[in-house]
Symmetry: C2
DNA sequence: ACCGACTGTAACCTCAAAGGTTACAGTCGT
DNA sequence: ACGACTGTAACCTTTGAGGTTACAGTCGGT
């Protein structure tokens, strides 16, 4: 199994795949998405995650699937928990 | 693409695919997973969602991919927001 | 050099969800 | 009747999203 280097947080992907190509500003995009500038900024800078509602907003605005944004999010979430040395004490129940 | 009727909450899937086949009790499974009985009960009865950490626990215990549990979760989350009537005010930014 | 637009972010608030412990009532098999 | 299992209520803590307001910094255009 591969090393799985830092899966980028979804905000990074958002910036590279949507904002830069379209030359969007945070201010105008926040208004279009119907959220505050702070909220969008937090996502773009990796200080907040993508919620189901936000995924739907992104899907509408950029004509993408909400699932794709949430998929990036869970990959990042899993990576965060895995690298947080806290060993999960789990006993096998099957297989 | 069909309306996508109630995607079951992940707890329902957990119960049908893991608990019933193995004849597991909530009490013993909670202990094996390293969480409280309350926490597992809440998930099994759809009163709590699957977090990244819980997905990792389930993956270890049942030898499944954590991603699959989180995938079920986001499908359910999206369904909940979609059926919540609250119209998201979003302006298209692309496509 | 100044001004306006954009940006990050801090401070402050509310709301909600996860998870823990304890305790209680109900069900079910022996 | 008793013990095991279950759902769940009450109560607490922590965390994260999201909002508003305000401030300081950057940058382009005039």
């Amino acid at each position: 199994m591969k090393p799985m280097h830092n899966p980028p947080h979804p905000g990074e992907i958002l910036r590279e795949l949507c904002f830069e190509p379209l030359g969007l500003t945070v201010t105008e995009a926040a208004a279009a998405l119907g959220v505050s500038r702070k909220t969008l900024s937090a996502i773009l800078n990796g200080r907040a995650g993508i919620t189901a509602e936000m995924a739907l907003r992104l899907g509408k605005a950029f004509d993408t699937t909400p699932e794709s944004w949430l998929h990036h999010q869970i990959q990042h979430d899993l990576w965060v928990v895995r690298r947080s040395k806290k060993k999960l004490q789990v006993r096998k129940l099957a297989a």
